[in-house]
Every structure is written in structure tokens, then in C-alpha cells.
Symmetry: C2
Subunit: 384 residues, 2 copies
């Protein structure tokens, strides 16, 4: 198959900011793309060759879309997996596979998968309904505090809650869920692993993530992580072990905890380009978006070393602002050395909504970190 011709069609489920960044690379390689997204104003609508509006969770919609393309990938996990399975049977190449996605979509299944494959992860319990948790607490089968996670459709800032006292359970949806032991970690780390159909595997360097304490969203991603070489090596090994267990094709972003005694525990994974890899656009020889494409098209994987140190700052809507977005002081941050804003193009802001990200690169990661702090203190995502 020659991908560099208009006979080949790549389908992408989801046309958000990740899809938009994938599309820069399909355009660079002149690969024909079709995108399906529920919103008629999806950021990917321009820059793909064919755009379709439709529900990613609807079986018929996804099957009909998938039949138009040769290879199908995703930019979001919440898609109809039965449809992917049908398409696979019909001969469409689907990466990540329906099997990989089925395991990842459900956090309970994901955790059981780690246990089955001897992948280190935080202790957890599984509940068919949130309402069962109180009983487990009464029985002594569960202890406060813990992290509650909805089994399905969870993502950063949603579907996850730290439960410190009984009251915290109130208002949670009564759905399938897991409870996880709180990990008093030193660092949150991530490694993005790429694997192509031929089995070639490459990892990006270990990154360190700093979370916003309230919004539970990544605030800084720092590459390389400022950790000991031995810990970095261990994180790489655990990420590779996880990747091997999934036998995925495409990217697998593996989020991990570095515990107080320097053990590595897998938190969760995403089988696609990930927020923890945005700095690769400016910092790496190969961006995560290009690498995802190389992997799913079974092309040789690109070099994953860094050219320079890179830091990513998420641009999220400021508290107390809702409405037409304004990027206050964006010109000021563009005066700073090595600073690149990425604006996703969402017209409306609201508190903690991801509106874009800013990459800061410098040969010295500590200089980059200082500039990142300045960036964070200068730009503000507000409304008119």
C-alpha cells in the first residue's frame, strides 16, 4: 500500500484539538483524511479532506464512516467499539484495535488487565454501582481516603474524585466504578510508547507532570523529567511492559506514579496522542502526532530524542469567566524566548476548560521552567 497517494484514505474518529494536530502531519505527508465528529464546528473540520458530522458512540454512524476508509484511528477513546469490531471483520485496518480500546475504555477492565499482566498499579476495588461503596466502608472492606473513578467515560477533571469523608460521595453518579488507594507519590510521570504493526517500538523520554490542585488537570509537562536516571529507566521499562501487554499499534501514553520509595505504578493509559506529549512538536526530532501516523501506517518510527528541553503549559479557562474567549497578554508571552502558543479555536471559555497549550523550549530545562512560570503568570484565558 502506498500511503503517499490519493487512493489511500485515513479515517479519524474525533475532530478535536488532537485531530487538528494529527492533520498537520497528514498534510505534510499528503495523506488523504476523513474525519467524523459530533460537532459541525470541530477544529479538524478544515484541514481534513472529508468531514462528517455524527455521533461517535452510534454503531451505524461509525460503521458507515469506517467503510469509507482504509485505515481508521481515533483521537478520543469514547467511540463505539462494537462498530470497530465489525469494521475489523470487514477488513478495515483499525488502530488502536477494538480489543485494546475495549480494555482501556473501562477503568475496571483496565485495572484487571494490569493485574493479569503483572503490571504494577495502585490497589483498587471494583463496584457495579457507586451506591455499593458505603456498604464496603461499613464492612471495613474499604478505607477512607480513596480515589473514586467512574469505570466508563472518565477523563481529566471529570469522572474522578478524591473521597476523604463520606460526604464526598454525595452527588456522584451511581455507575460502575472503581476505588483506588491514594498514592502519596513523589512525581507523576508519563512515557509515550509507539509501536507499529511490524513490532518496531520506540519510547519518548520520561516526562514529569505537575497537576493543578483543584482542576485535576495537567498544568506543566516537563521533558525530560527531573528525576534520577534509575527511576527514569524503571519508568521506561514499566511503560514498555505495558505496551507489550496491550500489543497495541499506534501510540500508548502511559501515566505513572513515582512512589515515595521510588516504585513505579501505572495509573492509566491512552492509546493515542496525549496531553503529556504536546511538547514533542517543538522539542523532539519527531512529534507524537507524526509518530502516531508512522505507527498506524506501519512506516518506520521516527527518532524520539529531544532537540532541546521542552515544557508544556495547558491554557485553561480562568475561574469566574464564561463566554467569548479572550487570550489576555498573549502578545506578552510571544515576546519570551522559545515560547509557542497553540490556540485550539474554541470560541467559548469556561473555568478550567482546555483552550490551548503553550510550549516553552530551551537548551537548559531549568531556564525553560522559569520561562514557563512567567508564561503561566502572564497569559490569562478570560471572556469578553
Amino acid at each position: 500500500m502506498n500511503f503517499f497517494s490519493s487512493n489511500f484514505k485515513l479515517g479519524i474518529l474525533g475532530g478535536g484539538q488532537l485531530g487538528k494536530m494529527i492533520l498537520y502531519n497528514t498534510r505534510k505527508f499528503d495523506i488523504y483524511t476523513c474525519v467524523l465528529d459530533p460537532s459541525n464546528e470541530a477544529p479538524s473540520k478544515i484541514a481534513c479532506n472529508e468531514f462528517y458530522q455524527g455521533n461517535l458512540m452510534d454503531y451505524d454512524t461509525v460503521v458507515a464512516f469506517g467503510r469509507k476508509v482504509n485505515t481508521l484511528t481515533i483521537e478520543i477513546e469514547n467511540v463505539n467499539v462494537d462498530a470497530l469490531e465489525t469494521l475489523e471483520k470487514e477488513g478495515v485496518t483499525v488502530y488502536p484495535s477494538s480489543k485494546t480500546l475495549r480494555t482501556i475504555q473501562n477503568k475496571a477492565k483496565q485495572k484487571l488487565f494490569y493485574i493479569d499482566n503483572n503490571i504494577p498499579t495502585a490497589e483498587f476495588s471494583r463496584f457495579a454501582y457507586t451506591s455499593e461503596i458505603r456498604e464496603a466502608l461499613n464492612n471495613g472492606g474499604l478505607e477512607l481516603p480513596f480515589v473514586w473513578k467512574s469505570a466508563q467515560f472518565g477523563y481529566d477533571g471529570n469522572g474522578v474524585k478524591v473521597i476523604r469523608q463520606l460526604n464526598d460521595l454525595e452527588g456522584l453518579p451511581n455507575v460502575e466504578c472503581i476505588t483506588e488507594k491514594m498514592i502519596p507519590f513523589k512525581n507523576e510521570l508519563a512515557v509515550i510508547v509507539a509501536r507499529n504493526a511490524d513490532g518496531e517500538v520506540k519510547t519518548f523520554p520520561v516526562v514529569e507532570m505537575e497537576f493543578h490542585p483543584e482542576a485535576n488537570q495537567v498544568e506543566y509537562v516537563i521533558c525530560p523529567a527531573r528525576i534520577d536516571e534509575t527511576v527514569a529507566k524503571k519508568a521506561q521499562e514499566v511503560a514498555l511492559q505495558t505496551s507489550k501487554a496491550f500489543n497495541h499499534v499506534g501510540l500508548l501514553a502511559v501515566e505513572m506514579f513515582q512512589t515515595q520509595d521510588d516504585h513505579i505504578l501505572v495509573n492509566e493509559v491512552a492509546p493515542r496522542p496525549h496531553n503529556s506529549g504536546h511538547q514533542t512538536i517543538e522539542a523532539s526530532y519527531t512529534s507524537q502526532f507524526e509518530q502516531h501516523l508512522r505507527a498506524i501506517l506501519n512506516l518506520p518510527l521516527g527518532k524520539t530524542d529531544s532537540k532541546v528541553g521542552g515544557i508544556m503549559v495547558n491554557l485553561v479557562g480562568a475561574e469566574n469567566y464564561t463566554g467569548d474567549v479572550v487570550y489576555e497578554n498573549i502578545e506578552s508571552i510571544m515576546k519570551m524566548d522559545g515560547v509557542t502558543p497553540h490556540i485550539y479555536g474554541k470560541k467559548q471559555t469556561r473555568p478550567f476548560r482546555k483552550m490551548g497549550h503553550v510550549t516553552i523550549v530551551d537548551k537548559d530545562i531549568n531556564t525553560a521552567r522559569q520561562i514557563a512560570e512567567q508564561v503561566k503568570n502572564t497569559i490569562k484565558v478570560i471572556s469578553k
Copy 2:
């Protein structure tokens, strides 16, 4: 003016491969774009917000298009300059200005401009018609060999011919032209200068160009140029002098000769992103395309240092192949470290047609140069 909002519209005259690479950056900044191009299959057609098909040399077409936008720029010089002048009078911001473009569009005017501004350039003569050249040769006012250049609408590989003997004049169009003294140069160099409306100026490092002997097209662009620091400094100074004389806004790519005695002579300029700056996408802190946008939108200019050494190889159609394009061995070059192909998306190849480019980056420029040679010897642009 807040560019980061949908009220602002940027117009681009020309929707070719340069426009396509500008559009990645408008999308990154979420800037609304309108593109005018004669071809309904222009590479920029997808990824801009509004696409218009029309003749860039037609006054009415360009005026009508320009009235839709707030700021107008170009990706090609051959546009109707009277239309730009009208638009400027009507209040549209046009960068480069009609004045800059008028001087650059005509090579005779461009050369006179260098003389007027004490910018070093090769000796030349101006002719209203090519047919006048024979008389000048007979009179002794001109000596063989020389370089013939059409005054208007010339570009690499077209409108330029080395005249070694009288016969070589045959078949040339009988148009306004210049003849230039042949410069036995050591190197062809280029510097891209960016200038915004506030007068902020930044230069990219000096690059070295190797031309294909037959096609008169750039074969390698090497950044940084492998020249003495004093020569590099002189080239930077001449480029800045040229930029200052034009008082342009946006990019100015200044192509220069380094003579045998290490003088710098300006060859020609382009007031836009340029082939000699493609490697900035992968090698520089700020790409030339982002820098052009920053300049014309009067934003702070980005850092122009290189992260790593960069080499650009043009992908041109192989001799003896015309028809539906095939990129033979593209997968082999993608196995090499730090290699990124850019495929422009033209469906038909013909000998020496620019079909794309490949960037090779490495911390060591000599390693990059070796890989570039491998790339050039491996990939072949042929037809089915």
C-alpha cells in the same frame, strides 16, 4: 486589534506549498484565513477558512478578494500590484507593501534599487528587449559570458539563462531583461530577515545553498553555512542593509554570492517565506512561516536561533518521468534519523518540478550532511 479572534481575517494571495505551510501556523494561532489561488486544486484549499479561485494577476479579482480581509499577504510575488495599491488606499493592511513588491517584481528595478542604496550587487545592464542584446555585444558594451534574466515573472529554473555564446540567446523571449556579469562565487548564501511594523528586526542564521547544475534549482540548503564567522557576519550585515533599504514588513529572503575574495553581493530577494528557509520548521526555535505571520501581524518576533543543524533537500521530479507521481523509497528515507519528508501534494510529476522537500536535522551538521546525501541518493520522484 486582537488577531486571536474570528473577527480578524487574514488574506493570502497564492495557495501553493508555501501557503500550505503558512496555514499550519494560522491554525496554530487560530487565525481566520482566506486564500485566493488560480487552481481549484491548490494545496491551501483545505486548511484555510475561505477559498477563492481566481487569477492573481487580475486587478478586479485581487481587489474584490482583498476587500474581504483585514490584512493581506502573499506567498508568490506575481500578483497584481495595482490592486494592492488600491487596497492600501482603502485601508487594507498589505504586507509586503505594493511599493516593495513593485521594486522586487521587476529585476531591472530591483537592481537599480541596489545601486541607489549602495547595496553590493553584480554588474548588470538593462534592456527593453532581449533583441537589443546582440547590438550591445557587437558594440562591445557587453561581453560573453553573462547571465540573462527576464525582468518580470522570472523564478528558479525559468526566466534565467547563462549565455556563453551567441547561440544561447536563441529561443529566449523578446522581453524586458537584464544581463548580469557571471560571478565566480565560492558559495551562494542566504539570510532571511524578519521585520514587523514596529520596526523590530531579527535575522535567521546564514544558510549555504548548493544548486543542481542543470536545473538551476536549489538542491541542498545547509544551516548554518559552513563558512568563516567573518563572512557570515558580513552576509548578515548586507542582508540587514537590504532589509532596511526596502523597509519591508514581513520576511525578506536575501540571496547572496560569496565571491572568491570573500565579498558579498546581493543576488536577489523574495519578500515572503522562501525555499532557503524550509529547514527552519524542524531546525529553528521559530519557523520562517510563523515568523512571517508574527511580522505581518505586528506581533513580537520569535527567536531565530537553531535548535539543531538543519539541511533541506528539494524533492524534484526525476528526469524522464512525467505523469502520476510516485515517491520511490520514501519509506527507506523515513528510517534514517532526523529525516522528515514534506510532500506538497501535486498529483503530476515532470522533470525538475518541485514536488516536496526533505529536512534532515542533527546536532552535528556534518552528520546531517551525510544523511542528506543518503536521502538524495535513495528517494526518487518518478511516475507510475
